[in-house]
């Protein structure tokens, strides 16, 4: 807990930033192009960097994905529910779904017109308001907690989330058995859970 003040300052900062972008998204849902432009300027370089981390050097593809993701932001801004997720979490889910669709279209892996939005969607069950607050708080605190994970657990999460590797591929790239990757993932989420609850 040596970074107590530091980390709670960071949390505070994240919460304020999230509030700001939540209100920007509300304006976008009212078809405010100026708000959208602000959102684009702030988040599109992040989405691009995230896509490049998965396919280094694929600059054109990353630009294309940024465009797709940002159009989705415009189209779906009215669906953003600040009680369920933070702005960056919501943006992550849009980016993930665009990446999945892009990959499948390329490889001809589309079945029966199943798109990512058909299999990865937000669940509309309204959570208990108290749980919603908890969820929201933990969503923002994940940032700090991720930094406190042991390196090897953090690396495995990065392989799976950012580089989009299956656990089998992650095992091969890290040169460890599949069982080790699985247990690192389990340990990482258990640890995050514990940090978020404390």
């Amino acid at each position: 807990m040596r970074h107590m003040t530091n980390s709670s300052d960071k949390d505070q900062e994240k919460a304020l930033a999230n509030q700001h972008w939540t209100s920007i998204l509300a304006r976008i849902s009212e078809r405010d192009a100026e708000a959208f432009s602000l959102f684009f300027d702030h988040f599109s370089p992040r989405v691009k960097a995230f896509c490049l981390a998965k396919q280094p050097g694929a600059n054109l593809l990353a630009e294309e994905l940024v465009q797709e993701v940002m159009i989705k932001v415009w189209d779906k801004s009215h669906l953003f529910n600040p009680k369920l997720a933070s702005v960056t979490t919501w943006l992550f889910t849009l980016t993930r779904n665009c990446q999945i669709d892009h990959f499948r279209r390329n490889k001809n892996h589309l079945y029966q017109n199943l798109e990512a939005d058909d299999l990865w969607y937000e669940y509309d069950t309204a959570p208990d308001p108290f749980l919603a607050i908890q969820q929201h708080k933990s969503d923002l605190n994940v940032h700090q907690s991720l930094k406190e994970l042991p390196r090897e657990q953090h690396d495995v999460l990065e392989k799976v989330y950012i580089q989009g590797r299956t656990q089998q591929q992650a095992a091969e790239e890290l040169g460890v058995p599949l069982g080790t990757v699985k247990s690192r993932v389990r340990l990482a989420v258990a640890k995050l859970e514990k940090m978020l609850r404390s």
Binding site: A53, E63, F92, S138, G164
Partner: protein, 247 residues
């Protein structure tokens, strides 16, 4: 749809793969279906999405420098949204016909509200007329199947209907098999499985599922490889089952 009595869930690492988008289509279908029944896994999934959100933020700011965007990308996007705005009446009617609510008022849903509400959302495109209108194929005396699709890794995704009290002969799996129970229940040597339960049977595990006596059991299954009956009498079905896997 939420059922609090669900006892069998996907593993933590499978839920993480799903949130990360690094699992296969067939696995995603099974997990999404389970999530509709299971509030506990939905909460874990939300947390796993939050990990993705935090990584999206840190990936950009720490390990990789924030990449600059080609100004043409922005002008293209701004132009597209401007076009959408001028298409008229868009202010309160955004483009995407994807409401968050499950009650999509399409004519089909209105005709068969009860059938549709029983079909998990993840299965709606695959089973547009609901579970009760599926055309089943006889597989064995007590089991009927309906193929949904074949995943690129060869996994066969199908629905399975076991008649009330019906027995699936003792068999083993030659690859992993994912099952989500949509209706009814069944039991095998290891326990009783009910609506919403998620099961993963590893290659070579043997079991003898039996549907509960009073009601038929409908499951969604994703099989990496054909199953193989190991009982003497049941093994006559093996050639038919292998045939289902040949492209």
């Amino acid at each position: 749809m939420t059922n609090e009595s669900i006892l069998h869930h996907p593993s933590q690492e499978l839920l993480v793969s799903y949130a990360a988008g690094s699992c296969s289509t067939s696995q995603a279908l099974c997990i999404a279906t389970h999530l509709e029944f299971c509030a506990k896994c939905r909460a874990l999934h939300n947390r796993n999405n939050a990990i993705g959100g935090a990584l999206l933020d840190t990936a950009a700011s720490s390990t990789h420098s924030v990449s600059s965007i080609n100004p043409r990308s922005k002008s293209r996007v701004m132009e597209l949204i401007a076009n959408r705005q001028t298409e008229g009446g868009q202010a309160l009617a955004p483009q995407t016909p994807e409401p968050l609510t499950k009650t999509e008022p399409s004519p089909r849903n209105q005709l068969t509200p009860s059938k549709q509400s029983a079909t998990p959302r993840a299965l709606r495109k695959l089973v547009p007329d609901g579970l009760s209108s599926i055309r089943w194929k006889m597989a064995t005396l007590s089991v009927k199947t309906s193929d949904l699709f074949k995943d690129h890794d060869g996994t066969n995704v199908s629905l399975l209907k076991i008649k009330a009290g019906g027995k699936v002969g003792k068999h083993r799996h030659l690859g992993d098999e994912y099952t989500v129970i949509l209706q009814g229940s069944f039991s095998d040597e290891t326990g009783v499985y009910k609506k919403g339960d998620f099961l993963l049977r590893d290659a070579n595990q043997q079991h003898t599922p039996v549907a509960t006596k009073d009601t038929e059991c409908i499951c969604l299954t994703a099989q990496e490889a054909p199953l193989q009956f190991t009982g003497k009498w049941w093994s006559v079905f093996n050639p038919f089952l292998r045939k289902a896997f040949t492209p």
